[in-house]
């Protein structure tokens, strides 16, 4: 994918101030990129305001990320992305245990607790899709009626069938590799003859080893019977294009984004550091969509952090946005600007969208702005397999168990999906670096003995990550407080977060299931949870460490009325007729699906509504003859 030279620097702040754009989008992640591309194709003049740096999507910028990642001591999911005090972001090492009644203010997210989350999102051009793992699960039909069916959380104002065509659009945009026969389960349906753009990626050797122990395992939950099976995940990374796609037209995978042709990323190579960054760009990131949009004339003003959404007191519509533009990430100096538009789209992610609205004193007439903050609760279990299983080969995750994503038990305990991690204990213990340190420092091995010890230790590692659902709860929320600001003077997000018993019941069950799976595999369980770690929770006499899922959602939920939600089914603000808040923040539930595919589908849907609104509002008034 060719990135037009200079496209992210060609728009001057002065130009921005002079023009009334058709659409102004805040945030250049996947939601903003899709909206920009779609609206531009429909003939609208579009500006993206991006808080991060502009040059990051050139190949040099991308390779700077890689170099930073390679040289980083901690390979956490934000390690490639530079520290930018003008557009700060949470990092997974930030979280600290919270003393009740004393918020942890030591890092960008101010945490009120009681739960201290190590969740993250990435504030660079391309957003969190730069570091995402690229799992692209659809939500289950039952996930859309969580309150009605199970008495948990919130219902959506639309159903699976309404979103299905947009799921297909999102799968095309992201370039999903999967096989329909693996993905049609628990009510997930596809139109007849549908195939994914690319064929499913093969299960790793590790997956196959695990499948030997898992397949056919019976689980009984509150009288309901389930049989487990390891199956492949749909993934936003390039595999073998399916010649049957699009009625036989096939699919052309999109490789690396660069101003010059580089012939990289056309196919996943199994480098196994998808998170935090695919070295060859075989993994989809929003830069691929942005490159297209920029080629077609979308404008970007980077290093421009929006500070306020301004409302016309008479019409209730957004009149303009205030932004601060910095030259140098390390300097607090900035130039202020205003931008006008006919329609405004906030696409900065669940936390930043809500933070910006609240910082603009826009609570929503429902009072729900920033409330219902959701994330997946991850529980890790790790063990050593009896024989070498090829761990560290393949992408981060190729297969898992999805049979307990749905079922009648959701009236009592949370559903979950299970990931088999091809990167071993990386997330749990920092493997393989920690293994290396241990073998060198404690076992004093070197040369071939070191190599052999490392292989025998690492390639037997099995880590199961249980991704557990968390229903919407208004008391889990984002707020702002003038006492906490970033370098540019923007109020930082303040998080109040608690893991409900519903989710913890799912966690406790997950832990028991992991033990059972390890037993069946003859694997030695190494799982321990340290009470000193952030995210440690005691539940019914046992301790667990819950990790953040980086699947933040729910802060501006969609619903059926201005009293029960912030946005309507098109993601338009109930209060402000020319304002759309888009992304996972609009989702009333997240089930056990990673949020990106669903939020992308919602954006394709919203784009059609925005185009319609702009056309209607632009149409000349017809005066009645009578």
């Amino acid at each position: 994918m060719i990135f037009p030279q200079g496209a992210t620097t060609r728009t001057e702040p002065a130009t921005v101030t002079d023009v009334e754009y058709d659409v102004v989008i805040v945030g250049g992640g996947i939601a903003g990129a899709i909206m920009a591309d779609q609206l531009n194709r429909a003939g609208q003049r579009v500006l993206i305001l991006e808080a991060g740096s502009a040059e990051d999507l050139t190949l040099t910028g991308y390779e700077d990320y890689l170099t930073r990642f390679y040289s980083a001591v901690s390979k956490d999911n934000q390690s490639p992305y530079p520290v930018n005090p003008n557009a700060p972001m949470p990092r997974s090492g930030d979280a600290q245990p919270i003393t009740p009644g004393r918020p942890d203010t030591s890092s960008y997210l101010v945490q009120n607790g009681p739960f201290s989350t190590d969740t993250t999102y990435t504030r660079v051009l391309g957003g969190t899709t730069m570091h995402w793992e690229a799992k692209t699960l659809r939500m289950l039909p039952e996930d859309f009626d969580l309150a009605t069916r199970f008495g948990q959380g919130l219902d959506w104002p639309l159903g699976y069938d309404d979103l299905e065509p947009f799921y297909r659009q999102a799968e095309r945009e992201i370039g999903v590799s999967a096989d329909v026969e693996d993905q049609a389960y628990l009510g997930i349906s596809f139109p007849p003859d549908y195939v994914f753009p690319m064929k499913g990626l093969p299960l790793s050797y590790l997956d196959q080893m695990v499948a030997q122990g898992v397949d056919g395992t019976d689980v009984d939950l509150f009288g309901e019977h389930f049989t487990l099976k390891v199956r492949g995940f749909p993934q936003g990374r390039n595999g073998i294009p399916n010649p049957a796609y699009d009625g036989g037209k096939g699919f052309t995978p999109v490789g690396a984004v660069s101003t010059n042709q580089v012939e990289e990323g056309g196919r996943c190579q199994g480098n196994n550091n998808c998170v935090p960054l695919c070295p060859v760009q075989a993994k989809y990131h929003a830069g691929k969509t942005l490159a297209k949009a920029l080629e077609n004339g979308v404008e970007v003003l980077a290093q421009a952090v929006v500070t306020k959404v301004n409302i016309d007191p008479v019409s209730g519509r957004v009149s303009h946005l205030d932004f601060r533009r910095y030259q140098d990430p390390s300097s607090a100096e900035f130039v202020s600007g205003k931008v006008r538009g006919r329609v405004f789209v906030l696409a900065a992610g669940a936390i930043e969208n809500a933070r910006l609205m609240l910082a603009s004193s826009l609570q929503s007439s429902s009072g729900l702005m920033g409330r219902n903050l959701m994330d997946h609760a991850y529980l890790l279990s790790w063990a050593l397999l009896p024989e070498i299983a090829g761990t560290m080969r393949g992408t981060n995750c190729t297969g898992g168990i999805v049979d307990l994503r749905g079922g009648g038990f959701r009236g009592r305990q949370a559903a979950f999906g299970i990931d088999i991690h091809n990167d071993g204990w990386g997330w749990a213990t920092g493997a393989p670096v920690t293994d290396l340190h241990n073998i060198v420092d404690s076992q004093h091995k070197f040369g071939p003995a070191l190599r052999n010890a490392l292989v025998s230790q690492v390639s037997r590692q099995l880590q199961l990550a249980f991704m557990i659902e968390m229903p919407a709860n208004p008391s889990n929320r984002v707020t702002v407080d003038p006492a906490y600001r970033d370098q540019l003077g923007n109020m930082r997000p303040v998080i109040s977060f608690n893991i409900p018993d519903y989710t913890m019941r799912g966690a406790a069950f997950s832990r028991r299931l992991a033990s059972r799976i390890f037993e069946r595999l003859g694997a030695e369980d190494y799982t321990t949870y340290d009470p000193a770690d952030p995210g440690y929770i005691s539940y019914e006499g046992h301790g667990y460490r819950i990790r953040g899922g980086n699947h933040l959602a729910g802060t501006h939920v969609m619903g059926t009325s201005a009293t029960n939600s912030v946005v309507d089914v098109t993601q338009r603000s109930w209060d402000h007729q020319n304002l759309y808040l888009v992304g996972a923040g609009s989702m009333p539930s997240i089930g056990s699906a990673n949020t990106t595919l669903t939020l992308a589908a919602l954006c394709f849907k919203s784009a059609t509504h925005i185009v319609q609104q702009l056309r209607e509002e632009r149409a000349p008034l017809t005066l009645s003859a009578r």
Binding site: Q5, T252, Q261, V262
Partner: protein, 352 residues
């Protein structure tokens, strides 16, 4: 019209076999230059060398498709398939040799020579008497004394032969493209490389495949960009020489894009045209070089399988290429014993 140089199926096969050999022969010098770059340095040159090498692999695949389509059998394991470097390519007036060497101004000149534009200047004859030389690429396979001015012209001869034989076969009610379609490499198994693998089933697809090779390589007809708006290899390399990227509408020789940085010092000084005999027998280095050569021979055998009925084998080839890369790096990162300032390199000497 003039009589084409290829008038029989046997001739066509031998030309296509030579083409296979030719496409492959460019890969070892490009890889040696590529992996001689210090990690983290010369990002621009690294991408250009890498892209061209990837496209040469596409060309190899396209030639295999054409050869399979006309009933031939690609064989990358034939004795002598891998040339012994230095090897020669015809160069009109002055012969030049293709060396395995570190990234350097000389290596760059070789790259430019290999990819030189197709048209011989003025009215110079297309096929000329060959001067004394060693191993010859782009030499006429059935007239050992003759050579082509450039790779592009060599492909024009194949193009002419395909058209001629297709017509002849048709007149006799026979089918030139009678090869097993199951041997064709389709885009499912190979993509990336500035174009897709074109399955060859008839004259049209055969000519498209050859045209893609010619356009990507040398930019037939003087244009710097091809139909897919892709810069040809010659001009890609020229960018390194001129320290500037081309952009749309530039004239040949006058790139006006962003600057391109080159650091010839950030390169491992590998031994030029290294031979096993350069490494002390019984040394780890010797063993590593031998291991690489054995791995490379295996890889060519693997490709041969992929090209003769097992297209999915190409997918597994990726892992093998990683192993080859690691083996090359192992050699290139090591200095030669007793030869300060000189590093080892893969020798590409295959026991064939």
């Amino acid at each position: 019209m003039t009589t084409p140089r290829i008038t029989s199926l046997e001739q066509l096969h031998s030309y296509l076999e030579a083409a296979l050999q030719l496409e492959h022969a460019t890969i070892p010098p490009y890889l040696t230059a590529l992996y001689s770059l210090h990690p983290g340095s010369n990002a621009d040159a690294r991408h250009i060398l890498r892209t061209v090498a990837v496209e040469e692999m596409l060309h190899l695949t396209l030639v295999a498709n054409v050869l399979n389509a006309v009933g031939g059998r690609p064989d990358l394991t034939k004795p002598g398939f891998v040339p012994r470097y230095p090897t020669r390519l015809p160069d009109g007036e002055v012969d030049f040799e293709v060396d395995l060497q570190a990234f350097s101004p000389e290596a760059l000149t070789t790259c430019l020579n290999i990819e030189r534009p197709g048209e011989a200047p003025g009215n110079t004859p297309r096929v000329r008497q060959r001067t004394a030389g060693q191993h010859l690429l782009a030499a006429s396979p059935d007239e050992p004394g003759m050579q082509y001015y450039s790779i592009g012209e060599f492909y024009q001869a194949i193009d002419g032969g395909l058209r001629y034989l297709h017509r002849e076969y048709e007149q006799e009610g026979k089918q030139l493209f009678a090869g097993d379609p199951g041997r064709q490499i389709t885009p499912e198994y190979f993509y990336s490389g500035g174009g897709e693998a074109i399955p060859v089933t008839d004259l049209g697809s055969a000519l498209r495949a050859l045209n893609l090779i010619a356009e990507q390589g040398e930019g037939l007809g003087g244009g710097i960009y091809d139909d897919e708006s892709e810069l040809s290899h010659y001009y890609r390399f020229q960018q390194i020489q001129l320290r500037q990227y081309y952009q749309k509408d530039d004239e040949p020789g006058h790139p006006s894009g962003p600057p391109l940085e080159v650091d010839f010092n950030a390169v491992y000084p590998v031994l030029k045209n290294a031979r096993l005999a350069d490494y002390p027998e019984g040394s780890e280095l010797y063993a590593a070089a031998e291991e690489f050569n054995a791995g490379y021979a295996d890889f060519l055998a693997h490709l041969t399988r992929a090209y003769t009925g097992e297209p999915p084998a190409l997918l597994e080839g990726v892992t093998r290429m990683f192993r080859l890369r690691d083996d090359i790096n192992r050699l290139i990162r090591n200095p030669l014993p007793d030869r300060p300032g000189v590093h080892a390199a893969p020798t590409f000497e295959l026991a064939q």
